[in-house]
Symmetry: C2
Subunit: 192 residues, 2 copies
């Protein structure tokens, strides 16, 4: 029966789990805009189906999937591929998880309007690129799964680059794109 039910949970799903134990110890949970997320001591990321035991002890679960890039032109994609580092670097002892919900106004925009705000106005890719060599990151999509957040971005970096990560967040939050952000939580963690 468990096997049968697992069919309803897609392969591509990653669940972010806030609980009393886990892979990353929470240092701070800050509500940037909108309603708060319950305080938890640990966060874990689990691929595929969420284990029932984990689920029963957890405070929240956010489901997501990774996907192809939606706004990236050829030359930008090339540069991202060249400079990006994969997650799991043993020297990167700090992590940040930033769930975001964008407004209905954002989702009513057409593709060309969203691209213009995202990059031509807000320089989301251009501003982020210089951080790529020392801040790993993975964007996850949640909106299409009916979740409370549209995106969860997961970052990993060395504690010696905490200030640079704060600077990246500060830069993005000042942009035109961020006027469409209705809810944002900033969770900082250290590897267990």
């Amino acid at each position: 029966m468990l096997q049968e039910m697992e069919i309803t949970s897609p392969n591509g799903i990653t669940s972010f789990i806030g609980a009393s134990t886990g892979q990353w110890k929470v240092l701070s949970i800050k509500t940037i805009v909108g309603s708060a997320l319950p305080i938890v001591d640990y966060v874990s990321t689990v691929k595929g189906v969420v284990n029932l035991d984990l689920q029963s002890t957890s405070s929240w679960i956010i489901k997501s999937f990774t996907s192809n890039l939606r706004y990236t032109k050829r030359d930008e994609k090339q540069e991202l591929n060249e400079k990006s580092r994969t997650l799991g670097n043993p020297e990167f002892n700090h992590a940040a998880m930033i769930p975001i919900k964008k407004s209905e106004a954002w989702w009513q925009l057409a593709q060309d309007e969203r691209r213009k705000i995202f990059e031509e106005d807000s320089k989301h890719i251009q501003s982020s690129t210089r951080y790529l060599p020392f801040i790993s990151r993975q964007l996850h999509h949640s909106r299409d799964l009916g979740e409370d957040f549209d995106f969860v971005t997961w970052f990993e970096f060395s504690s010696k680059h905490d200030e640079e990560f704060n600077s990246l967040c500060y830069t993005l939050r000042k942009t035109e794109e961020w006027k469409y952000v209705d809810r944002e939580i900033d969770i900082r963690m250290v590897k267990v």
Copy 2:
């Protein structure tokens, strides 16, 4: 326990179910390219979690979600909104379900490259627009859920417009975009 497990199945999921009973009676299942899909007598669309009883008698289930449009500019979106008809029109007694898988080459392209092939080269939106008043349709995404198909498009129309629907399929299958289609099944149905 069932309640708990349902949490792992997102709100936004629609399942297409091929089975021995259902909402739409199959008239034909034609493999356009790639490997075939098992023959079934009926197809149903189910929102949310797939019922276990349905699942045990079904021959196949394809999970999907609807999403925002990925390639549509403001003026195109405007025209689509004005001309599109919703599904469920009582006069539309025929349906078509077309699951498609695109090649890895397609998914390695950047957003601007995919847009160029999709519309500037293949005129996907422009060619489809004149059919909108008498052919309802909904695009569903499956790739991000780890399914065998990337997309399922569901169409409804009156049997008196069968030839126009065939003409739409013919037009799209000749395009540059369709060179990136690795697998395509064309299922035609009549309302039960």
